[in-house]
């Protein structure tokens, strides 16, 4: 049975229809975290976040506190919030920006104070039309309330916050591509090193980039203390986390649950969470952390939802998005569709990604649509090996960013487990599931 007794941290207003309004936010304790933070030394605020061991919720899982402390060695210029949520099957930030925009804004102001940054940006994917409206409205209300602008809430601290709309490019979720887009350019990831925007970020100046969910945790952490946050979960995976569950489940949705205390089986099958697979079908495979992650199979169901546990088993918890595939799912079609996505979204800078994604997508297409050959299966693996030599996890890097080396994940997962499905497509002359 799932362990559901921890109170939610970032989805505490999920039952309230007006959760996005300032009135409701203030009534339910809103901006108390910021008021608390403003009574503390900025470094003490950062220390609480460090004590919380808050791992970044965007996908890479880098400790937020460390991102901040690395930055504190040099003068700080900008705070940028990554709300470009585009990893397929990830929809937690969508929830947060539409349903609890003030919580995000408060978190951003707290982070800005801790970092002593006077200019912050929230980069939201352009397709979030309502989310953009809600966050802008929250920012407007925060200015009215005195929580943004000059000398906020009677303190000596001033900060300005701007919402920046993206325009439809998955790659802008990569933080250096996001900064390029924020500079008004094509979303091309920047050459590394420097690896961290904390060294060279927006306009070449030190910049911290944090995810929407990461920011949304800050009001709670400041109010309750980093130790209280770290007491939840276990190991390096502290606190709660939003898991976005989709695919072949009865109750797809966003569930905030305590880290490490629950398993994939709990999340997918518990009646209060995923509620199992429709029609009592059998689980074939599931993706544990967005489509960049290698797939898991029924034997992984009892693994706990923890970053290190999933990493040790050869995949990643990534953006916290779990996609369930059952015995009605054509895994060749699933791998093809995921690969088509990478092919469309490759920015085109690096050859292995630009050319490789197109080649493997076309081979998967012909397998799925009746033109496949027996040797295509090993050809796919050979091409994947060219994109990321060794086909290991974490993948070997041949490109500027991690988009390219993520391409083999779904393909090698599907072939390693369901090679006969690929041959069945060849012999059948089309998809046997269609």
């Amino acid at each position: 049975m799932a362990v559901l007794d921890a109170n939610p941290i970032v989805t505490s207003r999920r039952e309230m229809a007006d959760s996005h309004t300032l009135a409701r936010y203030l009534e339910t304790g809103g901006y108390a975290g910021l008021r608390q933070a403003l009574t503390m030394h900025p470094e003490a605020v950062a220390a609480e976040v460090d004590a919380a061991s808050l791992l970044g919720r965007g996908g890479a899982g880098f400790p937020a506190g460390r991102k901040w402390s690395m930055l504190r060695k040099s003068p700080i210029s900008y705070l940028v919030v990554n709300g470009d949520e585009s990893e397929p099957a990830t929809f937690k930030d969508h929830y947060l920006v539409e349903r609890d925009p003030h919580q995000l804004v408060e978190g951003v102001i707290i982070a800005a104070y801790a970092l002593q940054v006077t200019q912050a940006f929230i980069f939201l994917r352009g397709e979030f039309a309502l989310g953009l409206e809600r966050v802008q409205q929250a920012i407007n209300e925060a200015y009215e309330h005195g929580a943004l602008g000059r000398h906020i809430l009677g303190s000596s601290f001033s900060v300005d916050l701007v919402v920046h709309p993206g325009a439809g490019a998955y790659i802008c979720g990569e933080e250096t591509a996001l900064l390029e887009a924020l500079e008004g350019k094509r979303g091309f990831p920047r050459i590394k090193p420097p690896f961290f925007p904390a060294v060279t970020g927006l306009y070449g100046e030190p910049t911290v980039v944090n995810n929407v969910e990461t920011m949304s945790n800050l009001p709670w952490i400041v109010l309750h203390g980093g130790a209280a946050f770290a007491a939840l979960g276990g190991g390096r995976s502290t606190g709660t986390r939003m898991f976005a569950l989709s695919g072949r489940v009865n109750r797809p949705g966003v569930y905030e649950i305590e880290m490490v205390k629950n398993t994939f089986r709990d999340l997918i099958f518990d009646p209060e969470l995923g509620g199992g697979i429709p029609g009592g079908h059998e689980l074939r495979a599931f993706i544990p952390g967005g489509v960049s992650a290698p797939w898991f199979f029924p034997e992984h169901l009892d693994m706990v939802l923890g970053q290190d546990e999933v990493g040790a088993a050869g995949s990643m918890l990534g953006s916290g998005s779990i996609v369930v595939m059952d015995d009605t799912t054509c895994v060749v079609r699933a791998a093809w569709r995921i690969t088509k996505f990478f092919s469309r979204e490759s920015c085109g800078q690096c050859t292995p990604c630009r050319e490789g994604s197109g080649w493997v997508e076309r081979i998967l297409y012909r397998l799925e649509h009746g033109g496949g050959r027996t040797e295509d299966v090993d050809l796919l693996l050979d091409l994947c090996d060219n994109i990321s030599p060794g086909l290991n996890w974490p993948p070997q890097q041949t490109t500027i960013c991690v988009l390219g080396p993520s391409i083999p994940s779904s393909i090698t997962s599907a072939i390693s487990r369901f090679r006969d499905d690929f041959y069945a497509h060849v012999h059948h002359g089309s998809c046997p599931h269609a």
């Binding site: 979030f128 919402v163 569709r337």
Partner: protein
């Protein structure tokens, strides 16, 4: 005489003033230009170039990278159906095919009456209401063929104008009341910061 209407031009200048560097306003201004004209016209991009201190070629080169910017005319309603993994498992391809037949319009094309453009989209981050559909980037929660047909009928009859405005995503989003920090004050601080940075850079250059 500007290509932008006076209200759009004023809005554009406000947007430019929100950023430390003019070029950063590129994506918001392109959204704005698209809101006025329905797509990115040469005149619209020329004005964005002037406002951001870039050339029309740089504007076009940037715009062409992003899926949401249209360099050709599109319909009043851009209907996007997601077929990525979660939606694929919920019948996204079938729903897209239904939309294609209902609208009598190829994927990527525009209906003869100019009302609808049909797009196959990548993940729209609404995977618990799959297959996800957006019209002008607003979630419409139509997961069945019948619901989709009803929506198209409502759009044709103008019954959704209140929650699905034509074109663009920024039309109703704006900062009210201006900058509390004070745009001129902030500009002064930024100018000082920039001058200090440039002095540092010049000193570093001299030292090397």
């Amino acid at each position: 005489m500007t290509h932008f209407r006076s209200d759009i031009r004023q809005r554009a200048e406000e947007l430019v003033s929100l950023y430390p560097r003019r070029r950063s306003a590129m994506l918001p201004l392109l959204h704005l230009a698209q809101e006025q004209d329905g797509y990115l016209t040469d005149a619209g991009m020329a004005e964005v170039a002037q406002l951001t201190g870039t050339t029309p070629a740089e504007v076009r080169g940037t715009a062409a990278f992003y899926d949401m910017f249209h360099l050709e005319p599109v319909g009043r309603y851009v209907v996007g159906v997601c077929t990525n993994i979660a939606c694929l498992l919920a019948g996204g391809e079938e729903l897209l095919e239904h939309a294609r037949r209902s609208l009598d319009c190829e994927v990527g094309g525009t209906t003869a009456d100019g009302l609808f453009t049909l797009e196959e989209t990548e993940c729209l981050a609404d995977c618990n209401v799959a297959p996800a559909v957006q019209v002008n980037h607003r979630y419409v929660h139509t997961t069945t063929p019948d619901q989709l047909d009803q929506l198209l009928e409502d759009l044709r009859a103008g019954r959704r104008d209140h929650d699905i405005p034509p074109h663009g995503t920024l039309i109703r989003v704006r900062r009210s009341g201006g900058l509390r920090v004070g745009a001129t004050e902030l500009a002064e601080e930024r100018r000082e910061a920039r001058e200090a940075r440039e002095a540092r850079e010049a000193a570093a250059k001299e030292a090397s």
